[in-house]
């Protein structure tokens, strides 16, 4: 077998050296009745060529984003990633290294994590960022738990503009940890009165901007009310590219900023692996979840980097840890930091501008389609339209025409008549005039 270097002669010699007769003697501690004597009921080994054929056949049953006009977003976005990024993250020294527990021989990982933390802190306009979470949704749940630790309260208020699956992650954990969650109803029109929900019991208020429906939310009044009540504002984003163009949560009073970083450096991958970004104020560092990389010096006085403040973490604190997280999203953070180091603030702003311009163009074009109403006022690259028919059927009909038009809200929040006709449409720098023309023309046909 191509992954196993031992020959049969090696195996025999090694067993003799160990002083046992057969390999099964080394498994003698497994209770006899639980031992598998036969091979598992699964296929036998396969050559590289065979595996490639089998998996390629499965891949061929899917429609890749790059093969069609593509407007699907709602938490994951199709962007162009420079070829340099994927080349670099596949370097053996990055790809096949472990968590940097031995800093003397993992300065490569540690230095890029330090650079990553600096980039994320600057993007979000916060004091500090950690070395990544699994993704935006799990990061949001961790942010809520952190707010509970900081405020010693147990009630989270979730905006109706929060991504429905992020909300489900927070609610599921709160339910089993016996914490309170107040979830506002779905809010496609951006009219909810979240301020009225914040009181002296509130630990945190969780608001996404741009929200699930694409609406940019003014966080300042929410921060003011939260702080007045002794609560924290957790600001969430799913499209990190937006921070190149819109005012960051850190400049609006957010206490914790958490979001999905997939858009920069990382592909769609059917939902994962992605990279959660997590930033907060200096005063809360010791309540933060996740790994942190810090600067220090070595025995020769040279600058170097180490994982630090690990007294917050599970391997030291066990049941008193701030989080159970161990493995996080190192390689996706590397992809993120490489792509962003190529972009710089200038490139990020340009990329964000194109995304926004494409959204404006599409919104304008959709205004010419009879029966289509745009619900979103201020937006970045994504907006919600109300169709004259059920959105899921329209999306299927458009898919049959080779266009992936967006996400029907009912895919995530089914069974609500008022949401059934809503479609969330995303735009990025990959969309062309031809893509938009094709969508508008096909939509007219489907709605006719």
């Amino acid at each position: 077998m191509r992954y196993l270097p031992l020959s049969n002669q090696d195996r025999a010699d090694m067993l003799a050296r160990i002083g046992v007769d057969s390999i099964d003697d080394l498994f003698a501690d497994i209770p006899q009745k639980a031992r598998l004597n036969d091979l598992m009921d699964l296929p036998r080994r396969a050559s590289e060529l065979q595996v490639e054929r089998q998996l390629s056949a499965l891949a061929a049953k899917n429609v890749p984003a790059s093969s069609v006009p593509f407007f699907v977003g709602a938490g994951a976005y199709k962007h162009h990633v420079p070829a340099t990024v994927d080349h670099l993250i596949q370097r053996s020294e990055f790809l096949t290294s472990y968590t940097p527990y031995q800093p003397e021989v993992t300065q490569g990982t540690l230095q890029y994590l330090f650079e990553f933390q600096t980039q994320v802190a600057r993007l979000t306009a916060m004091d500090v960022a950690n070395a990544s979470m699994y993704d935006g949704s799990t990061g949001t749940a961790e942010a809520v738990l952190m707010a509970h630790r900081v405020t010693k309260r147990k009630k989270a208020v979730l905006s109706g503009g929060l991504h429905p699956q992020y909300r489900a992650v927070v609610e599921g954990l709160a339910d089993l940890a016996d914490d309170d969650v107040v979830s506002l109803p779905a809010d496609p029109a951006g009219t909810e009165d979240i301020l009225a929900q914040i009181d002296k019991e509130t630990s945190c208020v969780v608001v996404q901007s741009p929200n699930f429906y694409g609406q940019i939310v003014d966080l300042k009044p929410i921060a003011a009310k939260a702080h007045e009540c002794g609560a924290l504002l957790i600001a969430v984003f799913t499209e990190v590219v937006s921070l190149g163009l819109i005012e960051p949560p850190g400049a609006q009073g957010a206490d914790i900023v958490v979001g999905e970083g997939q858009s920069i450096g990382n592909g769609l991958n059917f939902g994962g692996p992605y990279v959660g970004l997590f930033a907060t104020r200096s005063k809360y560092i010791r309540q933060m979840p996740g790994r942190l990389c810090g600067e220090t010096t070595d025995a020769d006085g040279k600058r170097g980097f180490v994982l630090t403040l690990s007294t917050r973490e599970q391997h030291i604190r066990r049941d008193k840890a701030t989080s159970n997280i161990c493995t996080n999203s190192g390689l996706c953070a590397l992809a993120f930091t490489i792509h962003l180091s190529l972009l710089g603030s200038k490139g990020l702003r340009q990329m964000a501008t194109i995304c926004h311009a494409n959204a404006v163009k599409l919104k304008t074009a959709l205004a010419s389609v009879a029966g289509v109403e745009v619900l979103t006022g201020a937006y970045f690259n994504e907006f919600t339209v109300k169709l004259p028919k059920a959105a899921d059927a329209v999306v299927e009909a458009l898919a049959a025409k080779g266009i992936l038009a967006g996400v029907p809200v009912s895919r995530l929040v089914p069974g609500k008549a008022e949401l059934a006709n809503l479609l969330v449409i995303a735009n990025t720098e990959v969309n062309t005039d031809d893509d938009r023309d094709a969508l508008v023309a096909a939509l007219k046909e489907v709605l006719a």
Partner: protein, 527 residues
């Protein structure tokens, strides 16, 4: 014009001079110093070319960014050189033996990387119409089938994003199952040898962690002590969280009795699957009485560790816990597998406790893991586990006369645990010993874990090592032990000497944390 016929010298010349030059750059040939991107990059350039649109009216509603955003934009050659130089400061499996116990640093086949990058897997969106991702759902279903067959279980929650997330998922299913039965037990039993994530996970869900004692003679769970704990907290125990093989590298011989005792107490058996690589194809956790076990695809099934993730931690579930598996899950339909994503789509008997993450989990890791499983097949997977155990025992017998086995000369599973008794009176600590391994070109083993022995050194060579590689590793460690015994303390106390950095000051890093780069103050910069 006449040509110079002198030619270049081909002999090395007199190189007997012993001299270590102090270089101008601080570099030492291939070993190069590299500043931070913020220290050499331009803040007003970009390394990505865009076709900018014509001027247009923005619709941001007055939310334009006013806060400063200062990020360097590197030209492509600058970026390439920066990250290539950084990479060379990392140890990696591809470069050498990486014997981190309980981490399973095995070979990461590049076929897996190639497969994960097929556009049909890497370039599909989690929310595009299900009619356009049938192959993706089929792949997840196929991987689930492999995992259930290997473990002898009836369900699997695929979406957890890493081992600790899988633990959380399994424990949430357990809590939901108790709740559904009208029970509210408060205690989770965790052995002393457990990974730190186990008690952290139990505490996260509001459970009280009660530690169970290990037997002195071999560090495994003391069944009688366990039964006493169960009796003491009768009716109040939710689960036991147990790693098997345990973190001492030993299989819990009384595992079935432990499971029985736990089940009799109306509690569940959570197994930490971090060490599953020892027993794939040799025993099925389902047959051992396990109710839930996460499987680290990034350990057992070769998806790369990536410097700390991404991982993937699917959780196999027994029949009793299957109904509580979180959304999304795959249901067998008449026309193939169906992805169930929302509570509204549930059928009778399905009681998911909620959702672990947005979307469907770590698809990129699923493709890699399935690529590995298909390559190995049932025969290769069993052979891999046998080789992993064989290699660990080969290291054990190669070192047991010089290093100290805390539990005697019995066979281990896929990792072998030593304690620091053999370093007594040498003035060398476990940490020193590990750091001296770095100078020899090895990544150290797991140190000071598990906590049940003093100065632990946990070595997991994996099946990826050849006999020649193990022989050199054993010989190196033997040489280090002899050196320690002979009082050559300099070799240890200042180690490592040859790595890109020498020992780093973690105390000062934690006391005054510097967690990001700050521009030097102007006065300082002018100096």
């Amino acid at each position: 014009m006449s040509m110079n016929t002198q030619g270049r010298p081909t002999s090395a010349g007199d190189t007997s001079v012993s001299y270590t030059p102090k270089t101008f750059t601080g570099n030492r040939a291939l070993d190069m110093e590299e500043p931070l991107i913020f220290e050499f990059g331009h803040f007003d350039t970009t390394g990505v070319d865009f076709d900018m649109p014509d001027a247009f009216e923005m619709e941001l509603g007055g939310h334009e960014r006013k806060a400063a955003l200062e990020l360097p934009g590197l030209a492509e050659p600058e970026a390439m050189r920066h990250y290539v130089r950084l990479s060379r400061n990392n140890y990696a499996i591809d470069a050498g033996l990486y014997p981190l116990g309980s981490c399973t640093m095995k070979h990461n086949p590049r076929l897996n990387e190639k497969m994960a990058r097929l556009p049909g897997f890497g370039d599909i969106h989690p929310l595009q119409p299900l009619s356009t991702v049938k192959g993706a759902v089929e792949l997840i279903d196929t991987l689930a089938h492999w995992l259930m067959t290997m473990t002898g279980t009836t369900a699997v929650a695929m979406s957890p994003k890493a081992g600790a997330h899988g633990e959380q998922c399994g424990m949430m299913a357990i809590k939901a199952a108790h709740k559904a039965a009208g029970r509210d037990p408060k205690i989770v039993l965790v052995p002393e040898s457990a990974h730190g994530t186990n008690p952290a996970t139990a505490a996260l869900l509001g459970y009280k962690v009660v530690s169970i004692d290990a037997k002195d003679e071999d560090g495994t769970v003391d069944l009688e002590a366990l039964k006493r704990k169960i009796a003491e907290h009768e009716g109040d125990i939710a689960a036991i969280m147990l790693t098997n093989p345990n973190t001492c590298g030993l299989f819990e011989r009384e595992i079935i009795e432990i499971a029985d005792a736990i089940h009799k107490a109306n509690a569940y058996f959570y197994c930490d699957g971090a060490n599953y690589n020892a027993i794939v194809g040799k025993a099925r956790p389902g047959d051992l009485g396990v109710d839930a076990m996460h499987i680290n695809l990034h350990k057992t099934f070769s998806t790369p560790h990536g410097g700390g993730g991404p991982g993937s931690g699917p959780v196999v579930l027994s029949e009793r816990l299957a109904p509580f598996a979180p959304l999304p899950f795959i249901r067998k339909g008449e026309d193939g597998p169906v992805l169930v994503e929302t509570p509204e789509a549930l059928e009778a008997g399905e009681q998911p406790f909620g959702r672990m993450t947005a979307f469907h989990g770590q698809m990129g890791m699923y493709v890699r893991a399935l690529s590995y499983m298909l390559s190995h097949g049932s025969d290769g997977l069993r052979q891999a586990s046998e080789d992993a155990v064989l290699n660990a025992n080969y290291v054990r017998v190669g070192l047991q006369d010089l290093m100290s086995l805390p539990f005697g000369e019995r066979p281990c599973m896929h990792e072998v645990l030593f304690d620091d008794t053999f370093l007594k009176d040498t003035g060398v600590t476990t940490l020193d010993f590990a750091k001296a391994m770095i100078d020899e070109g090895y990544h150290p083993m797991t140190m000071y874990f598990p906590l049940v022995v003093h100065g632990a050194m946990l070595i997991e060579p994996t099946e990826s090592e050849s006999r020649a590689s193990l022989d050199l590793f054993v010989a190196t460690l033997r040489d280090l032990v002899m050196s320690a015994r002979n009082g050559e303390t300099d070799r240890f106390s200042g180690a490592p000497y040859f790595s890109p950095r020498r020992r780093l000051d973690e105390t000062s890093a934690a006391r005054k944390p510097v967690l990001k780069w700050e521009a030097p103050a102007p006065a300082e910069a002018a100096e």
